[in-house]
Amino acid sequence: MKIVKLKKENLFPFLEEISKEADLWAPTKVESDRHKFQAIDDLDQIDIEYTRTILPPRKIILPPTINMFQASDKEYKEDFSHVSKKIIFGIHPCDLHGLLIMDNFFTHEFYDPYYMESRKNTLLLGHSCWPDENCLCKSTRTHIIKEGYDLFFSKIDDTYIVWIGSSKGDDLIRAKEDLFEEDISDKDIKKYTEWGDERDKAFQTEINFDSLRDLMELKYDDPLWKKVGNACLACGSCTNVCPTCNCYNIQDRPVLGENYSEIKRCWDACTLENYSEVAGGENFREKRSDRLKLWYTHKFQVYITEYGKPGCVGCGRCISTCPVDINVKTVGKSLDGEKVDSFWNRLDKEVTK
């Protein structure tokens, strides 16, 4: 792999240059310690010292609602207005892994042009990070990344080590070549590996994903699920924030005063009430516990079986988001036999369903 070096003060001039050709998206601060990816007009909006954004970067590639096509009596007109040239700066390894899972999913068996056309027009510029207590990516082995980005910026003190991951990434560097240095010194390498070792030690949470796959099967009827189901508010938040959730709904919306409809595609969540309801009112997953089981089967089991990796990339968003503490950490640990479900126990008594 090609690696170059960039001084910290040269970062903004570089971003300035490349954002001439494409919309630049990067993390910005919303309030206190909450961040989100946002389209950047002014580089000073960027706050790269973040841990996790509220929504994962997939929202930039496939926004919560898009128009798929216009339908009239006579024809169908494709709508790809959500596709434009974009550069996303500051994506952490877990989220890059999330996008790799999306790439795989949306090209598997049928090719999904709404995701892929947008994805192909988006350059991914990764950025190194430091874990907090909710980061599980070391357990999912997604704390490091070797593919899936165009450039990756590892910040060491006042310098970036920049890994060039694709030919398009290389073109970006070439656009402002003089900002970069070619030589990585022994000292740089030493600093980088030391930083890596320190970071490795900073992970506070571990989950044994290897055993969860079987535990999902073995404990399918465990009373745990009833407790979790009783506690769940069916709000769908966990699904919306997860970088590996892909479900959506399709709606036909007639345009007032016109003789055509807009066919819209919007994010959906398997944790919502009517997700699996079919004609006649029959609902295959009326119980919240059944819907949560589907979600956790997806995270803990399905992907490992299909792709050898869990469907969770350890970003910790479900942990910081679920209002009642249902997340891969608490559910995973409970399945693994640890006593962490006292909270749901309490709810069990208070709420009856």
Partner: protein, 286 residues
């Protein structure tokens, strides 16, 4: 180097094909028959599907829903559907007349394993809307009669007026190469000439069935499965030769929207046809 050849020449799997309703009439009070033809002649003739597959049908302003293809691929050009009125999309379909346009995309799903079924006896048990996918199988077997052993049809309905495709099946009774048994739970007309009783009362009429070379296909309302499966197991038909089609909510048909997920499979890709073995070994199937 990664292969990125599929770049700009994708086909958009979500775009329907405009299709015209050629014929439509009531089968029962709340089920209508639709014969449609894809407007583009070449596409109409090259629409290749397998028995047991389904298509997504869309009505402008109402939306899209999955429906089993009831016609047989052995008679190309026209597609047929039996549709029950139950909600927004189906009500909109019901309002359409001959010559009106709909959107259609597909075919989707795994369909019945015709290759494996060839050379074997075929026992079809249907009830209610189960006739929609299984009519396709029946017609296919009859069109390729020499490829199959015995073909047996058991069809049950609550009363004569609720039996889907009643006239069509009654007229098939004349065929010597089809064992056709029809039954209604209750005859409220007084001139029903076939069997009376629930569909399982037809099983004793099947003689000398060789279970190991029989494929049993079942589709009907949930209650029917319970009782019919019992009969089929009594007959010793192997669990992986009992085939059933299952219904799930579907929005895309191409394995992307997630709605039809069961365990680790998507019903729209790996279903809707499952064996009885799938059903008992995979959670949540029924």
């Amino acid at each position: 180097m990664k292969n990125e050849n599929k770049v700009s020449t994708y086909e958009n799997p979500f775009l329907p094909e405009p299709a015209r309703i050629v014929r439509t009439y009531h089968l029962t009070e709340d089920v209508k028959f639709f014969q449609v033809r894809i407007a583009d002649m070449e596409k109409a003739l090259s629409f290749k599907y397998k028995i047991g597959q389904f298509a997504m049908i869309s009505v402008l302003g109402a939306g899209e829903a999955p429906f089993s293809i009831s016609s047989t691929p052995s008679r190309p050009g026209l597609l047929e559907f039996c549709i029950r009125k139950t909600g927004i999309v189906t009500e909109a379909i019901f309002r359409l007349k001959e010559n009106d346009m709909i959107g259609i995309r597909g075919p989707y799903g795994n369909g019945f394993p015709v290759e494996q079924m060839r050379g074997n006896d075929i026992l079809i048990t249907m009830g209610g809307l189960g006739a929609a996918p299984l009519r396709s199988v029946l017609l296919y077997c009859l069109d390729n009669r020499d490829q199959f052993g015995r073909v047996i049809l058991l069809h049950g309905a609550k009363k004569p007026s609720e039996m889907l495709l009643r006239e069509e099946f009654l007229s098939l009774k004349q065929r010597q190469d089809l064992e056709c048994h029809l039954s209604v739970d209750k005859d409220d007309t007084g001139n029903w000439t076939e069997n009376t009783g629930v569909v399982t009362t037809l099983f004793p009429k099947i003689e000398n069935l060789v279970p190991s070379s029989t494929y049993a296909l079942v589709c009907g309302p949930p209650v029917m499965y319970k009782f019919v499966l019992k009969e089929l197991l009594k007959l010793n038909i192997p669990k992986d030769q009992i085939l059933m089609t299952l219904e799930r909510r579907m929005k895309c048909g191409v394995g992307k929207c997630g709605h039809c997920a069961i365990d680790y499979i998507y019903t729209c890709l790996d279903g809707p046809v499952f064996t009885y073995w799938d059903v008992i070994h995979m959670r949540e199937l029924i």
